[in-house]
Homo-oligomer: 199 residues x 2
């Protein structure tokens, strides 16, 4: 049975960060360190939030800050699944938990069209960053054609409620969307009776 | 399909309350008003958190503040189910959502034994309060022998992790326990794509 404790610790620490009134970039930097700790071990994600959907990649909410200052999402990629080119409009972090992910970053030209600038591969334990005005356009894919990959994403808002866009890379044509979440349930991080071993 | 919006609104408002640095009793008083609004309509609790267990009453966590300052729990009482006499050690609120609950309050005598002081019945929309040092000892039961009752409890801590006690009313003998929760899942309050009607 995986223990949810590492995820609870991550959420508690990230919440506490906001009491320090740091600038956004410092929050993101500190959050990256916490996320690195979280994905250092792949022994805590409940199976219900690690299930691939044969139709499309899944985005399971793991935790949303009740003031909607940040959210933590498990992206589960079935074999070969990928996102369209899209933006975020808030800061983001990708922590690789299982398998391998490719991330292609894009720049937008003056005519509105997109150019791929680089493709990087994320392996378990690695963390990548995204920020509006710096590198907000990307396309993400499972680097494996024959197995599930899972990454843990953290965003500087409730990403399931942010109005943002996908793009046609060739034409630059924008289509707005709100991503929502793949499940009406999230994990219960707060049952401390289990670790206590009490009745 | 029930909309989770009233529960999200309750959680958001209760979280915001803590930014006002009120004394505990004022927090509880304000929270009672918010809970009254929440239980005024029985149209928001997802079915997964309204299921009785034939063996014993269920305590489904609906939300825990990530700083563990408060928690919101759905108590689902099968026909005739009841708690033992117990305490809480943090403030509590009971908001009746569905069915009918009886609450018997107890006072503890100098010899450690308990005396029942009153039994009240809660009907949908009503809210009762509990506070350490005032009225922290009670026994709660479904007032119906033939149907499910549901009440929404709010506590001034993560109640699933509080070490507290049940008591034998006759002898006063105390048995410590941590209640935990009936499910490893909680509802996802944060999918705003559904109300937006976006893709
Ligand atoms: Fe993305
Ligand atoms: Fe109680
Ligand atoms: Mg009454």
């Amino acid at each position: 049975m995986p223990s949810i404790t590492p995820l609870r610790t991550f959420v508690t620490r990230l919440t506490a960060l906001y009491d320090r009134d740091l600038p956004e970039t410092a929050v993101q930097g500190e959050a990256a360190g916490l996320l690195r700790d979280l994905v250092a071990q792949d022994d805590w994600l409940p199976d219900a939030f690690a299930q691939p959907d044969p139709e499309r990649y899944s985005q399971y909410l793991l935790h949303c800050d009740p003031l909607e200052r940040f959210s933590v999402v498990s992206f589960v990629w079935g074999p070969g699944q990928k996102t369209p080119l899209h933006d975020h409009r808030v800061w983001g972090l990708i922590g690789m938990l299982r398998g391998r992910e490719s991330e292609t970053q894009f720049e937008r030209d003056a005519d509105g069209r997109f150019r791929a600038t680089e493709t990087t591969y994320l392996d378990p334990g690695e963390v990548a960053t995204l920020a509006p005005g710096v590198n907000d356009y990307h396309q993400v894919a499972n680097a494996f054609a024959d197995r599930t990959s899972i990454s843990i994403h953290v965003y500087g808002a409730n990403i399931g409620g942010v109005s943002r866009a996908t793009y046609d890379a060739q034409t630059g044509v924008e289509k707005s969307f709100i991503s929502g979440y793949s499940s009406p349930l999230v994990p219960n991080l707060w049952d401390r009776s289990k670790n206590a071993g009490a009745a």
